[in-house]
Amino acid sequence: MLVLTRKKDESIIIGENIEIVITEIEEGKVKLGINAPRDINIYRKEIYEDIRTENKEAANNRDLDMDVIRKIFNR
């Protein structure tokens, strides 16, 4: 992994058109500003992991008990 040291308000460029700016540094936390084309997906890694975990859980579902579901929905 490439590791770079940056100060507040400094930035790095990735490729032609992605810029990551260090906007704030405080104890244990860094705030990043990201300039990137709209067709690049950006999200915190833990959100992707959350979705994976949730999908695994959903794949292990028992099936819907349709009798119970009918009671709930058919008023």
């Binding site: 994976r52 794949a59 579902n61 579901i69």
Partner: protein, 159 residues
């Protein structure tokens, strides 16, 4: 990829419905799979025949044991709103809004009152091109476990 001719019906082993027959044209390709099941790239939506019950199933074609219960999120969260990233619009070849169906994946625990829908990861389907993708929303309003029945009860839609 087109193993079957148009209009041809194919047999499919399913998790909840045993062996069924579907029209080949109903198969939806997920070019990226879904998170956690990246290798599963073809699914079919098995619709619930009962109109007033909003649950359907997303069944994997290659893996009979992989099926998700899904729900149209707008049924219980009418103000659900998000933007589909340009990259996804391109990947799914979406041209206009009416190409799109949105579903969310449901977890059904033992206590059915506690079943939840994942609003952080809506499943977007281009119904015309039969292409799908689960997208990831980094939006504080939505999380992976929205209580479906609680939302419906608060609107008086269920008992």
């Amino acid at each position: 990829m087109n193993k079957w001719k148009e209009g041809v019906r194919v047999e499919l082993n399913t998790k909840y419905f045993g062996k069924i027959e579907i029209e080949e044209e109903r198969i939806i390709t997920f070019p990226d799979g879904v998170p956690g099941f990246e290798d599963s790239k073809e699914f079919v939506i098995i619709e619930n025949p009962e109109d007033d019950i909003p649950f359907n199933w997303l069944q994997s074609i290659d893996n009979p044991n992989l099926a998700f219960v899904i729900i149209n999120p707008f049924v219980f969260k009418s103000d659900y709103d998000f933007e589909i990233p340009d990259l996804v619009v391109k990947k799914l070849k979406i041209v206009e809004q009416k190409d799109i169906s949105v579903y969310t994946i449901v977890v059904v625990p033992e206590d059915i009152d506690k079943m939840t829908a994942n609003l952080s990861g809506p499943v977007i389907i281009n119904v015309n091109k039969r292409l799908g993708k689960q997208i990831i929303l980094d939006d504080k309003r939505y999380h992976t476990k929205h209580l479906i029945l609680e939302e419906l009860k608060s609107k008086g839609q269920v008992k």
